[in-house]
Amino acid sequence: MNDTETIAEGHGQLVGFRDPDENRRWVLENKSRKLEDKRMSAKEAVSRLVQSGDFIASGGFGHVRVSMAIIYEIIRQRKQGLTMAGKTAVHDIDLLVASGCVDKVEAAYSFGYELRGLSHASRRAVEKGRCKVVSEISNAAYQWRFLAGMMGIPFIPSRTLLGTDTFKKSSAKAVTCPFTNKPLALIPSCNPDVGVVHVHRCDEYGNAQIDGALIEDFELSRASRKLIVTTEEVTPHKRIRVEPWQTAIPFYFVDAVVEIPYGAHPCQMPLKYFFDEEHISEWLNLSKDDDGVREYLDKYVHSVESFKEYLRLVGGQRKLRQLERIEKRGGLRPRGTK
């Protein structure tokens, strides 16, 4: 067997990496194994668990199942100097960069709105130097960072990234594989300071169920040091025990349970409610310049106390029922609506 030697090295900043022994000690000292009622408000969860300067990761994917209630709360509390995992981060990262809370990003997919185009605000922040992309990565490699992080190992080997500028700007390394003698990428593990995940239902202890694709929240929630779970509803503990195979995230990973119906708005909550295209467009139009960004944040974040008030501003029950109807129809809009 050959010695494993490093044959190439990315020069991106290594963010969110912990020595596995150091992280084990942190887990031993900080993560409770007791069933404890962890319900609290979004305000309390953010003020207790998110510190300025933290490395944060938000669950879901793009505009899908994102804990927007916590994103808005982070902005409301004006947390500063955050670094964020840009793992197909769309509306969440756009708002957090636009508001100045996040100024460093490790980017797999950021500053874009998929089919809706490019973001205005966060792209402008990068182009003007207000926000720095500290490293590049791919989507697969990002979730494998979390996979290594949840496994308590320092890296995961992979055959992606190799040979590209994405690799050169990443924090990965390439070695000669001791088994095949072929080059292999080593993707460093990641344990974010705080993970934020929105789920369909969860008990008071944090046992959480997700309907639809898990995306990378299985790995992200287990890799995060502190985890905030927001939920459409708090469900009785006994319901978890009836179908334990439905548990996507068991309680011992969870630090806060926040009940927030429609907490992903304006994003989609699979099988519950559809994207609010009207609201997303409003943001995309306003965020074309810095004045518009301020106008949006003043109206929807700083002038309201809670997500509930925000929901009233965006159209309240009538709007939310409409989004539920569209989602139930498999995304087909009622005739005559856009």
Binding site: G60, F61, G62, H63, V64, G86, T88, A108, Y109, S110, F111, G112, E114, L115, L118, R123, V126, E127, G129, V133, E136, I137, S138, N139, A140, A141, Q143, W144, L147, S158, R159, T160, L161, L162, G163, T164, D165, T166, K169, A174, C177, K182, P183, G212, A213, L214, I215, E216, F218, E219, Q268, P270, L271, F275, E327, G330, G331, L332, R333, K338
Partner: protein, 259 residues
Amino acid sequence: MMAKETAYTQVELMATIAARMLDDGRSVFVGTGLPVIAAMLAQKSNAPNLLIIYEAGGIGPQSPVIPVSVGDSRTFYHGVAASSMHDVMAATQAGYVDYGFLGAAQIDMLGNINTTVIGDYENPKVRLPGSGGANDVGSLCHKTIIVMKQDEKRFVKKLDFMTTPGYLAGPGERERVGLPRDTGPYRVITQLGVYGFNSQTKRMMLISRHPGVNIEEIKKNCGFDLLVPPVVMDSEIPTGKELRILREIDPGSIVLGRS
């Protein structure tokens, strides 16, 4: 004279050509944008048993309309599984995915693509989203198909940033850096023509030109030295049935309305 219902746009032509490339009974990893509508058209026409895979974990959907996001619930609507990114990316790395289907902002003559920045990396003129799943798809699928707009700023001699591997610096380079054997770009589809890659040199070559497009126009919209074989075919235009399906699956013209 062309009947009204068979008049088509460039986007519809590109989607149709892309759809016909996907053989029935194969699997395809679908990126955001035009690939979504092309894969769905294939499933509803020439390839009913096409296994469509989306990066957020949607597998084998049979959705009446296109998803807006490659993570939204329509990516697993009537599907066979709603799993996870780890699940689908691992399967791709293990060899289960035949076609990877990508868009791009820039491409070079060896099929390497850029979706990260236009201009200098440190002081970008335009910051684009980055790799997303593109690097993974371009690294790990057996054959990569790229659908993009063509002009001399997009078909470039030198990429501003190599986000996703094509044939890298040339033949044998993918294997040399450790990418899976016998993988790489297969076709490029633009509004002007269809391109493949020379089996020896791995350089891009013209396969067919779209109706009304001449070879001079194709060369003018290409910033590198394109291989042009003596025989160039004409691309086949969309049928009325294909156009009807395209408009059904994208009723809001989310993809079809893009220029």
